[in-house]
């Protein structure tokens, strides 16, 4: 929570680094983790267009994985994946370490897709600011 010295930060509270929230991780909010099953995926991209956290990674018009640094585990992607396709499974976060076990427990899944397990590099402290402001923002918004 300790910030930087007043002489060191841009005046007027301007943030000149667009999109630097990418360096802030919200992945640890998750209690459920979406597992993308590459071989089942029909690339309809509904998960991508409905994700609140820009956490479905696409490359050249195709889903290639899930950004676990930012995914909060809401499960909209799994819910929006067409029922017949069922290419995203939500599993409990504390049971999600062994990918092979998960893959083999799901019939006809083939293999699980490439998963983005790399955490973004950041020059900023991830603990700065409030976490989960949306959930307790009553304390920070205008008290109207």
């Amino acid at each position: 929570m300790i910030g930087r010295a007043w002489k060191e930060i841009p005046r007027g509270a301007v943030i000149p680094e667009p999109g630097n929230a990418h360096h802030y991780q919200t992945g640890d909010w998750r209690s459920f983790r979406p597992i993308w099953l590459k071989d089942r995926c029909i690339q309809c991209l509904r998960c991508w267009i409905m994700c609140p956290d820009s956490a479905i990674i696409t490359e050249d018009g195709k889903v290639v994985g899930i950004d676990y640094s930012h995914c909060k585990g809401c499960g909209i992607c799994a819910n929006e994946c067409p029922a017949k396709v069922d290419a995203i499974k939500m599993i409990k976060e504390d049971e999600a370490d062994d990918f092979d076990k998960i893959a083999s427990s799901i019939p006809d899944s083939g293999s699980v897709g490439e998963v983005n397990r790399t955490e973004p590099k950041t020059g900023l402290r991830a603990d700065e600011g409030h976490r989960r402001s949306g959930a307790n923002a009553g304390a920070v918004g205008r008290e109207a």
Binding site: H22, Y24, R46, K72, I76, E128, R142
Partner: protein
């Protein structure tokens, strides 16, 4: 989903005039849209399953130029700009709660002036985002003024039907009967005692080039409307439903499904008023009873009792009346 795929086949044609450069039409396939830049990054602090960033992401996919976004105080604003972080890859400004429209109108005026003087070279678009509190209530004057003045800007209300940032207080967008912390489901007064106001119609009465109502559940419809709004020859207003799992008391994974029910029950009809022509952009094959929408949400749970049944009937009557009116208006003006 069938309706969405059908809609995929019809490419959106521009039937409106543009004041600036005529740009490439916005892509209408997700494959192509996914190749466009992501302006809102992950790492924002909105709740899991929040509808606001879904709406924002979809709307911003319609952009073909740089943009400046103004944001009213509210969940979207606080959770995307916690210093020293910003989730916005574009220029963005928040000043206060009631004045997103006035603030962005000043930015747009600066743009017109500086562009005329040759000091700004790029084509820009201007969007203001406000919640329903910042739009229907405290920001209505500022919004009305900006629309009347003819600024070329798009005002987007992400409407989650209550003051969610302060902890679920009723606004004038809150529907009849809804349980909020300032319209609690008490034993004497069961939820909000008066109906929501029809802001989309109020905005249409400003006779601005483009007004529409949309929902992120119907993404293509929303992106097309955003595209029209962004390229309208003057001010445009979008009223976009945005689920709040906490305020509506739903599971975080159900949001899109529930917003789709709002559309399929005609509780939240999808339509546009394009230069005075009212057009329903999506007609559900089977208009579902409003109960289908209500029963999925904790905020309406108390309505499902014998003594409160009449509130559901009133809500159904309101929905039917409004739908009928929209059918008539689209008949009359087209």
């Amino acid at each position: 989903m069938a309706e969405q795929s059908a809609a995929l086949d019809t490419r959106h044609e521009r039937q409106y005039s543009t004041r600036g450069v005529v740009l490439m039409p916005v892509p209408t396939t997700l494959k192509e849209l996914s190749k466009k830049p992501e302006i809102l990054t992950g790492g924002h602090r909105l709740c899991a399953g929040c509808g606001a960033p879904i709406a924002v992401r979809q709307i911003l996919k319609a952009l073909e130029t740089p943009v400046v976004i103004g944001n009213a105080t509210g969940c979207l604003e606080v959770a995307t700009s916690i210093y020293p972080y910003t989730a916005w890859r574009c220029s963005w400004i928040h000043t206060a709660f009631e004045n997103a429209a006035a603030t962005i109108s000043g930015v747009e005026a600066a743009y017109r002036s500086l562009r005329r003087q040759g000091k700004v070279k790029s084509e820009f678009r201007f969007i203001a985002f406000g919640g329903d509190g910042g739009t229907y209530d405290i920001g209505l004057q500022s919004l009305s003024g900006a629309m009347e003045r003819g600024h070329r800007m798009v005002y987007v209300c992400y409407n989650n039907e209550a003051y969610m940032n302060t902890g679920i207080q009723r606004s004038s967008a809150t529907p009849l009967g809804a349980d909020t912390t300032t319209s609690p489901a008490g034993s004497a007064i069961p939820g909000k005692p008066v109906p929501r106001k029809d802001l989309t119609a109020i905005m249409a009465a400003h006779n601005i080039p483009y007004v529409a109502q949309a929902s992120p559940s119907n993404w293509l419809d929303l992106i097309k409307k955003a595209d029209k709004a962004l390229n309208a020859d003057g001010p445009a207003f979008l009223n976009v439903l945005a689920i709040c799992p906490r305020g509506w008391r739903t599971e975080s994974n159900e949001g899109v499904e529930i917003m789709r029910l709002a559309v399929d029950t005609c509780y939240w009809p999808l339509y546009e008023v394009d230069n005075g022509v009212w057009r329903i952009t999506y007609k559900p094959k089977d208009k579902k009873p409003v109960e289908e929408w209500l029963k999925r949400q904790g905020r309406f749970k108390h309505l499902f009792t014998a003594e409160n049944k009449h509130i559901i009937e009133e809500l159904q009557a309101e929905v039917d009346r409004n739908w009928q009116r929209l059918l008539e208006l689209s008949e009359k003006t087209s």
